[in-house]
């Protein structure tokens, strides 16, 4: 584990391969993916359904491990203990899922402060910081509500607040607008753009090229392989 901040390369993947085994059948969802993402980039990963986008995203987010290949995150090899991976997910990564993945029995505040509590914050400090994050996504008045009392757009904003609260290096969004109407979707996309303008690294998955065009860089995946990689419409 050597720190290497010289290139501001926050993600560095080398020959990543992912094979799913279901009984006797094994399926190669990703093959020889090489990928470098710099700090502060806004990347869209696009491709048809079943192309392997989510698989790649889960590996980037350390929710899953690659079958083969090397993945350096913020200068750290991710081939490490489960405990360390949990710490990485906690401090360096903020997830935004298509289906929000909020805890249904906890209120908004409790949902947002939870990552801080796992980080070791005291209740008081966590609460203060969580309130700040909720304010940022414009839901201060709903702080004691449960997720089920909110609209889809509001729930996704809570998820964004939760993703942001620990001040992560990367924000990962897997089809964040997939379950939203166009107005709510637009709000969420705007929020992501704002976050990127503030200097956050954002990686967003989508199957919609119109949504992908909001990003500054667009990576197309097909059948588990990177087909194209365009920065502002120019091949990088």
């Amino acid at each position: 584990m050597t720190e290497d901040r010289s290139g501001r390369e926050i993600i560095k993947m080398n020959g990543i391969e992912k094979v799913y085994k279901t009984g006797e059948v094994s399926f190669k969802a990703l093959s020889s993916v090489d990928l470098i993402i710099q700090k502060g980039e806004y990347v869209a990963i696009i491709g048809p359904s079943g192309a392997g986008k989510s698989t790649l995203m889960n590996i980037i987010g350390c929710l899953d491990k690659p079958t083969k290949g090397e993945y350096i995150l913020d200068g750290m090899d991710t081939n490490c203990s489960d405990n360390l991976l949990a710490e990485i997910r906690n401090k360096k990564i903020g997830f935004i899922f298509q289906n929000y993945n909020l805890l249904p029995k906890s209120n908004i505040l409790e949902n947002v402060e939870l990552p801080l509590l796992y980080l070791g914050y005291t209740q008081k400090r966590a609460r203060k910081r969580a309130e700040h994050a909720i304010e940022k996504v414009g839901l201060k008045s709903h702080i004691k509500h449960r997720p089920c009392e909110l609209s889809g757009g509001q729930m996704q904003r809570v998820a964004i607040a939760r993703a942001l609260v620990t001040g992560p290096q990367i924000i990962l969004a897997d089809e964040p607008t997939g379950a939203l109407d166009s107005k709510a979707g637009e709000e969420v996309l705007e929020m992501l753009s704002d976050l990127n303008n503030e200097g956050n690294t954002i990686i967003m998955i989508t199957h919609d090229s119109k949504i992908a065009s909001r990003a500054k860089r667009m990576i197309t995946i097909m059948d588990g392989m990177i087909k194209s990689d365009l920065s502002n419409g120019v091949k990088s």
Binding site: N58, G61, L63, D64, D82, N83, A86, E87, R89, N90, K91, F95, F97, N101, L102, L103, K105, L114, P115, L117, Y118, L119, G120, T122, Q123, R162, T166
Partner: protein
């Protein structure tokens, strides 16, 4: 993550599923309450028995001649023994459990004891009317008797019977005294008895000499000293060599027992009975524990997604493990407290409705709580471990 926050998370999950948590607790509640009541009954019975035995006097030593009927203890022997240090009084006793008694109108059976005047002091007997056996009754072999209040009630219909005539195994006796009531005990009523002079008893029962002697030590502290003198004397009398134990001397010729040794025997008997009953009740705690494990496994399966979310935002294995362990320990610990409460309620009813003596030891509250927590932790380990080992992405995808 701080432990206080884990406790908060775990307990709010218990609270959010009130009904299920309660049903899960039920096994522990029943187990702990039955252990509590049974231990309480054991303690109560033990207290009752030792109270009775202590009522008979802690200075009391019982000597039974068990063999060699040709050697008898004479009056001279008794006088010699009485002079020994530590020994205050000696009363020989002949007794039989079953004699026929009869008044003019009624007949019955009762227990008969024949002894000397000292018997009253040694056995802590007092009369409510009339007098106890006197020396002259023994010397003259008078047909007089002291009657228990229950016996008097049985055959005369009242206890105001001093001077009345009655028949014991067909022989006429005059009632000279009525005993004070002592109440009923577990060993039977001590109010249903008659007491006659020793000499009269020897003739009535055709026994050569008394085989049982009640000895009163000068004080509780002198019991051991008195016993060793008795032992020494009896060994000489029966021409045996013996190095007896502390509180009980037993051989084939005689037995010397102090009240303390009887108390010890009674205590150990009730104690082993109590622990056996409590042990049986404790099995229900294991069943309760299995119930907890069962529900926790269901809960882990149901909450797979929650576990996935927690892991995605940074929960470590040990955070998840602790959350579920605290949850099962909380359920069982709370069940333990409710069980003790139920035990107290049951004990109250037992005492006031059924009249059973129940003493619940105060430390059982803590013990029950700790023990049920331990049950919860032991049976929570497997489900909690299962939860903590879930792969984050598999857990998140779980529908």
């Amino acid at each position: 993550m701080k432990i206080s926050q884990l406790i908060k998370i775990a307990l709010s999950s218990v609270w959010n599923n009130k009904m299920r948590s309660f049903l899960t607790m039920l096994g522990i509640i029943i187990g702990i309450s039955s252990v509590t009541i049974l231990v309480g009954m054991g303690e109560g019975t033990q207290k009752q028995i030792s109270d009775q035995i202590e009522n008979l006097g802690t200075n009391l030593i019982t000597v039974s001649i068990t063999g060699n009927r040709t050697t008898t203890i004479t009056d001279e022997d008794l006088n010699e023994l009485k002079a020994k240090p530590g020994i205050k009084e000696i009363a020989p006793e002949i007794s039989t459990g079953n004699v026929n008694i009869k008044s003019k109108s009624k007949s019955s059976t009762t227990t008969l004891e024949a002894s000397t005047p000292e018997y009253a002091e040694i056995r802590k007997l007092a009369v409510q009317s009339g007098r106890f056996i006197k020396r002259m009754d023994v010397d003259n072999r008078f047909n007089v008797l002291v009657i228990g209040p229950e016996t008097a009630q049985n055959i005369f219909g009242n206890t105001n019977v001093v001077g009345n005539t009655m028949y014991v195994n067909g022989i006429e006796f005059t009632v000279v005294g009525v005993l004070k009531s002592e109440g009923t005990s577990t060993t039977g009523s001590s109010d249903d008895r008659i007491i006659i002079p020793l000499s009269t008893g020897e003739r009535l029962m055709k026994t050569a000499k008394a085989q049982t002697f009640y000895v009163e030590a000068e004080s509780k502290d002198k019991v051991d000293e008195a016993m060793s003198y008795l032992e020494l004397f009896l060994n000489k009398k029966f021409k045996i060599r013996n190095s007896g134990s502390d509180s009980t001397v037993t051989n084939s010729y005689y037995r010397v027992m102090s009240q303390t040794s009887i108390l010890d025997t009674a205590n150990s008997t009730t104690k082993s009975m109590t622990s056996m009953l409590a042990g049986i009740a404790a099995i229900s705690l294991i069943v309760g524990g299995i119930g907890i494990m069962n529900i926790m496994l269901v809960s882990v399966a149901e909450r797979t997604r929650e576990i996935g979310i927690r892991k995605a935002i940074g929960a470590k294995k040990r955070n998840i493990l602790m959350q579920f362990l605290i949850e099962s320990a909380g359920i069982s610990g709370f069940g333990g407290i409710m069980g003790v409460l139920l035990g107290y309620i049951g004990a109250y009813f037992g005492e006031h409705v059924f009249g059973t003596a129940i003493i619940i030891p105060s430390n059982i509250v803590i013990e029950a709580f700790v023990f049920s927590m331990v049950v919860g932790i032991i049976f929570g380990i497997y489900p909690a471990n299962k939860a903590s080992n879930l792969n984050p992405i598999d857990a998140l995808r779980f529908e």
